[in-house]
Chain length 239, copies 4
């Protein structure tokens, strides 16, 4: 779409970026969950900075080698935001969208089985990242969410839209993450339902189709018959 060179670059850096994103997430989680004591803190910081530099590099290279550069730029504003924003700590989890996009790219063309795998992967990751972010925002707020375990339990309650109300965020950051998670929940219901619906619709239509539609192959066969007829006609009068 934006030239062969860009496509080749994207194929080449795909796996390194997946690994970088996972390292980023691990370091992000370590910073929040571990009591940061010297070494862990330093290592996490280094990993966060390094992987961020890698994503920045990837963005710059893609911008440089893309044909029709401005079109590419305007259509990849989200990529720019993801690269530019993680300087601010609560926004670092934007990197999360990179991983979702990478999961999606690696599950390839969207068939039902792959939709299911993508849904499970993306849901698990969303719950984990949202629990991290809410725990980070809420732990010292005096709200009901005070341990990471509670945050994970709350994230499951929220993404499935159950919402008992035993835990809920009270800070603005926590609530913004919660709204994201609720929207994710609506999307989750949507994907599950749609996948099931496409499967049931297909099963039912297969059973109902006693008189199946005429296929291209059959029409081609008919055409062959008529061609033979013509040939016979061409030869017959001469006989």
């Amino acid at each position: 779409m934006y030239g062969e060179r860009l496509a080749r670059w994207e194929r080449k850096v795909e796996w390194p970026l997946v690994i970088a994103a996972l390292l980023f997430l691990a370091a992000y989680a370590a910073q929040i969950l571990a009591t940061p004591e010297g070494v862990v803190e330093t290592v996490a910081e280094v990993v966060l900075k390094t992987t961020w530099a890698l994503f920045l590099l990837d963005y710059v290279v893609r911008l440089a080698i893309a044909e029709r550069r401005w079109t590419w730029f305007w259509r990849h504003l989200l990529d720019l935001a993801i690269v530019a924003l993680p300087m601010f700590r609560p926004l670092r989890l934007m990197r999360f969208f990179t991983i979702i996009a990478l999961i999606q790219r690696n599950t390839g063309t969207m068939l039902r089985g792959r939709v299911a795998m993508f849904t499970i992967g993306a849901t698990a990751l969303t719950v984990f990242v949202a629990a991290l972010a809410v725990y980070d925002a809420e732990q010292s707020s005096g709200g009901p969410i005070s341990t990471f375990g509670d945050a994970v339990w709350w994230a499951f309650e929220t993404i499935t839209t159950v919402g008992y109300g035993d835990y809920y965020p009270v800070t603005v950051t926590g609530r913004i993450v919660a709204v994201g998670l609720m929207v994710g929940g609506i999307a989750l219901i949507g994907v599950v339902t749609a996948t099931l619906a496409s499967w049931i619709v297909q099963r039912v239509s297969v059973e109902a189709e006693e008189a199946s539609a005429a296929t291209e192959t059959q029409v081609e066969a008919l055409r062959g018959e008529i061609a033979e007829l013509k040939q016979m006609l061409r030869e017959a009068p001469r006989a």
Copy 2:
């Protein structure tokens, strides 16, 4: 449907009405959110009255130039209600439906991308207007919703059907708005799911269709062949 003149009028006033509706909403929000001190209050009142007059004018003109006037009247009772009711303060947000209708009209024929855009726009507007209305109804009721921020958070909880129960309306007006928002939530889940389903069904059927159905074009080709045959037959015996 009701004559060419009405259609022309509707095209001409479309954008002015969108602007009028947005001004109306802004003035409505200002009245509720700002402590109304002299100037703001007066400006808001003037804007509310003026835009209301514009919508009334639009209604009267459309009624006047519509062909088959009575049919038009009976099928646009909602328009009449929207124009007639905003005299009573809590019902002013009926104007909201005008904006939704205008968003829908401007997203044009309903394709998937446009359904998505309409859903995002309508949801954001619904949450904002519902939060305004509930805040207006609940702020002095002694119920849990006492700031506009809480009302927005509550609206998100409600439209996604999560419902933690940390905030909920206690007045009759607030509960009526809440029911509207819940119904909106059901519709939101429906639209998201349906859009995803139509997309997945299409993707899957494209992949599954190895033996694709015979098309009109192919049958036309067959017909051409037979026509040639006839021509050959007409000429052959004479040879």
Copy 3:
């Protein structure tokens, strides 16, 4: 299906039964909501007994004139239950299913517009009847639901699966009604989504279908052409 006489009877008693069911519901509501003081109580009791007798009569007549009586009996056990059970007060609301069935029969063949109308009607009725039944069961239980207004609000919360938790049933009867309402909520989401999905799928497929499938009419035309060919062939050699 069970003979012409039964079909004729069902057409004839359709409207009387709708009216009887509505009277039944009104009397049921009056008994619960009004402080039963002499007259109201007596009238309500008479109406309940009379309408119940009418439904019993209808059941007996249908059983009597149905062809293949045993098949009819086994397939209409729910009708028997509805007729037999309302003797016990909490089960009286089984009559509610009669009204739903009548609404469904009167909305005729299930097209999208009619599905929407049926959904709105059935939902409103379900909320009203469930609120009545829960109010009846909960009002003297010491649980949070103590007025009919609260019961209606609770019913909306429940059918939309929001569930704030400001109101919830505590008696066994109340919880059974609540489970029915939750199941109704799942069905409601399902119907709304499915109707929207069928609409979007159709719109999208209409836009996508540039190469439309070969129709019967076209194949018939082809057949006509071949028949003409044969005729020409039959005559040609003789010339």
Copy 4:
């Protein structure tokens, strides 16, 4: 798929396994619900051990007679887990998946009516088993769930995603079961919606399809006509 002998074995043990699984569930329920006093406890233990031995036997036999044994082994890891894990009490309810699988197998090819029956059966079983497991985990935890009735009510609230918050699990085991139940709720909404959608899509398309697609039968008829034509042509010039 893995040979005729395996298929024959699976057909033969199907009903014995259904009965064994139901006995297992009954014994499991008895252990949790009844105050285990001597006899009941002993009987339940014997039943649990015996049925477990039967499932182990079934697994070993299937592994022994399967062709392409390793492929079978890797594709049936869940079966191995179900057979191996129930030694640990909280994991015993894994047996539950066996029953769901057996229900599914016995509802045969998945048509709409059967999907509905499977959904009702699987939902009822899921609610019962989840209530058992949560009651077992929570009863002595000091959390709000302290009777089996509460656990059943909580399970309904959760699977329909209502979640009032009057009851919720507080132990880790209870929360894991709850997450499973929430996921079941999402799946339930999905199945209900998808079944309704497939039904509405079919009804609507039947009504819309005035020009029905050309069928195989028709194309076959055309072919016959052309064959006759050829025959006529073969004979005609000779005449």
